[in-house]
């Protein structure tokens, strides 16, 4: 299946620079946010939203999902 991924902030550095944090990933059925982190070798603590709704990192993704990933939101 394919998911459309937007990586915000420092997470965009896990993709080639011209991508500016945006890519389409091919993943096996049943893949989760954690699998995306593993595939991209992301080291930071990650939060994610699918279709604007924040989800747990064990959330199972569906074909065509719009996935946003970012670091945990605090102050600043």
């Amino acid at each position: 299946m394919e998911v459309h991924l937007t990586l915000h902030g420092i997470l965009r550095d896990y993709l080639p620079r011209p991508a500016k944090g945006k890519t389409t990933l091919t993943l096996p059925e049943g893949a989760t946010i954690e699998d995306v982190c593993e595939q991209l070798k992301i080291k930071q603590t990650v939060s994610a939203a699918v279709g604007g709704v924040q989800v747990e990192n064990n959330h199972v993704l569906q074909d065509g999902d719009e996935v946003q990933m970012f670091r945990m939101i605090g102050g600043g």
Binding site: T6, H8, G9, G21, T45, V53, Q54, R71, M72
Partner: protein, 646 residues
């Protein structure tokens, strides 16, 4: 011989010109640690209740902490505390930069400033020597000019200057104290207090003091510093370093938490034009040669993160001089999404005006956003604004109004009172659009989506503030940083947008920890109970290594609780009580529009129940919200209870 701190406090009476040095015992430092708690000791002891915030009776206290100046990240912070002219309650604001460390090296832990000078002066403190000097030639000048003149006048390019700009001189209620021309004790109008005293600047230098500075356990501190440097590249603050605090803009947008159009929406269509990565790619100094990591990132004394932005714009209507730094997330939000503006150059230019004239970018941008909503609704008219079309999205109008506030011109004089006072002055129902708590404009984090933050905005003694507790997402559905939050006894995550007794406990315990951090005076990106570079146990080790004290986590939390109780007691003396612990009505009445947060407002019943719970957990009077004698005595503040007659 103390390690980490000087054991000396300089008292400055500007009315008489008298300067005296106090040498408090070690127990005093261990009780307060410095910063805000230490400042509150003097404000409560020496300021009469009911003092005019802009009169000579107000006391401006400037303090560093017991660890300021140590060779480790995140320690170079200074707290300014006084009665706030913006809120009429206690005012309190922190800054970073090199000033705090240099102040420590100059030989003092605090300056306690009283009275009012007959003419403009500056305080010059040089390796233990101190004097007041004439500042008539500096009055009316912007920050960068003053810094340059003082460096030449004192013959030393390494002096550090904390000063008020023309906005502080004129009494703009949200004027800030600026150092390095780009770091601010931003909030609550501490610059207006300093300006009202005819104190243009505090200048420090500690060339010899730096050489003599010692810590109790150098190896322990070095180990911690090395650990921080090693952890940083893969840490959760790596992005703050590279992309600045505006790294978070995209995250906020993703979940409908980017306050837009004066908090009418949690999403802003053109957010990508004003976020941290775009700033990095386009206007950060060195971006044109891909050397922005080298040239476009500045730091505070001895910090590994380097999160401060250095912006240069040489073309177009909004030219920006790198000397005045660059905008934080709060600033890109208040001048940007709050105002519906997607012009990063205009936002950076407004930021520059604030740093030149000495104004808080949060209150300034948020006040303009409030005025824009009033204008859109016909409550403020072109007759009021001098013909300026103060509509959402009008970058030119936003910049013009920022200039007018800074210079005290036309409608800028009204907005320079802050939005709450301006609404009172204008009337016509303009208060409907306020986003203030205790008269201070809300920063760029949304109570509608973070319910413990809604509580903290309301109860915080110095008004709506985003750096007074940890935010909800780390304690919703699962504990995001179990080891660190566990160190504070926080182990039971709560549902999204809940405000259960356990969520209140999360807010209160992390509020104590943040309160501690504003007393030890450490950066809340470097230390904290969750995503920060160092956790609570690291902070404990750091304080132990610098001071040699066998402090415990419980003792540290008590320092934070003590400071919070002192702030609340100050407000109680001023008649500021539970009635003032309010969230802006707009947050309850007007549901957000668009994006993932569409239709969401703060639940009033949930909020009111949590208020009761918060006072109960603090062991305060639930009816008034004031500290009780029982609690004050438990915190060794019986003398404060005597003042309150409780």
């Amino acid at each position: 011989m103390p390690t980490g701190y000087n054991g000396k406090i300089l008292h400055v009476n500007l009315t008489t010109g008298e300067l005296t040095v106090e040498e408090p015992p070690e127990s005093f430092y261990r009780k307060y640690m410095g910063g805000s708690a230490l400042n509150m000791h003097y404000l409560l002891k020496e300021m009469p209740a009911g003092a005019d915030p802009l009169g000579p009776d107000n006391i401006l206290a400037l303090s560093v902490g017991v660890t300021t100046g140590a060779a480790v990240s995140g320690q170079s912070r200074m707290t300014a505390t006084a009665k706030s002219p913006l809120t009429g309650a206690i005012g309190d604001a922190q800054c970073g930069g090199f000033f705090p460390a240099e102040m420590k090296f100059a030989g003092f832990d605090a300056f306690i400033i009283k009275g009012k000078a007959a003419k403009p002066v500056y305080l010059w403190v040089n390796d233990g020597h101190y004097e007041l000097r004439d500042a008539s030639h500096l009055w009316g000048k912007i920050t960068g000019e003053v810094e340059a003149i003082l460096k030449k006048e004192l013959g030393d390019k390494d002096i550090e200057v904390a000063q008020v700009g023309p906005a502080g001189e004129q009494g703009v209620r949200f004027a800030s104290i600026i150092n390095m021309s780009n770091r601010a004790n931003g909030r609550t109008g501490m610059g207006a207090v300093m300006g009202s005293k005819n104190l243009k600047a505090v200048v420090v230098r500690g060339k010899e003091g730096k050489k003599k500075f010692t810590v109790a356990n150098k190896k322990g501190l070095n180990d911690l510093a090395r650990l921080g440097a090693k952890m940083f590249p893969t840490s959760d603050v790596a992005g703050l370093g590279k992309y600045g605090t505006a790294e978070t803009t995209g995250a906020q947008q993703s979940v409908g938490m980017l306050p837009s159009y004066n908090f009418n929406s949690g999403v802003f269509d053109n957010w990508e034009k004003i976020d941290g990565p775009t700033m990095y790619d386009t206007i950060l100094l060195g971006a044109n040669e891909d050397k922005q990591d080298l040239k476009g990132r500045d730091t505070c004394y001895s910090c590994t993160i380097r999160c401060k932005r250095v912006v240069e714009i040489t073309e177009g209507p909004y030219k920006v001089d790198p000397h005045y730094g660059g905008p934080e997330y709060e600033t890109t939000s208040t001048f940007g999404n709050y105002c519906g503006i997607d012009d990063l150059a205009a936002i950076s230019y407004a930021n520059q005006i604030c740093n030149q004239y000495g104004m808080d970018t949060i209150s300034c941008g948020a006040t303009i956003a409030w005025a824009m909503e009033c204008f859109e609704n016909g409550l403020i008219t072109p007759e009021d604004t001098g013909g300026i079309e103060l509509k959402f999205g009008n970058a030119e109008a936003m910049v013009k109004m920022t200039e007018m506030i800074a210079k005290g011109e036309g409608f800028g004089q009204i907005l320079g009172m802050g939005s709450a006072a301006a609404a009172k002055a204008i009337g016509r129902g303009t208060e409907e659009f306020l986003i203030t708590s205790k008269g201070q404009e809300a920063p760029a984090h949304m109570p509608q989506m973070k319910r413990s933050l809604a509580l903290i905005y309301a109860v915080n003694p110095f008004g709506a503030d985003h750096q007074s507790s940890e935010h909800d997402p780390v304690y919703e559905e699962k504990v995001a940083y179990p080891e660190r939050l566990g160190a504070l006894g926080l182990t039971e995550a709560q549902p999204v947008r809940s405000l259960t007794p356990e969520k209140v406990r999360f807010a209160r315990e992390t509020q104590y920890f943040y309160s501690l951090m504003d007393s030890v005076n450490v950066c809340q990106f470097v230390y904290g109970p969750a995503w920060q570079l160092y956790g609570p146990e690291d902070l404990l080790q750091m304080i132990q290594a610098v001071t040699g004290w066998d402090v415990t986590m419980e003792e540290l939390q008590e320092v934070g609780e003590r400071r919070l109780n002192m702030l609340r007691a100050f407000n109680a003396r001023e008649g500021i009580d539970r009635e003032h612990d309010k969230l802006a009505e707009k947050m309850f009445k007007k549901a957000l529009k668009g994006g993932p947060s569409d239709g969401i407002a703060v639940d009033r019943a949930q909020f009111e129940t949590a208020l009761d719970e918060y006072y109960r957990q603090n062991e305060w009077d639930v009816e008034t919200g004031a500290p009780t004698r029982h609690k004050l005595e438990a915190l060794e503040l019986g003398w404060v209870a005597d003042q309150l007659r409780v």
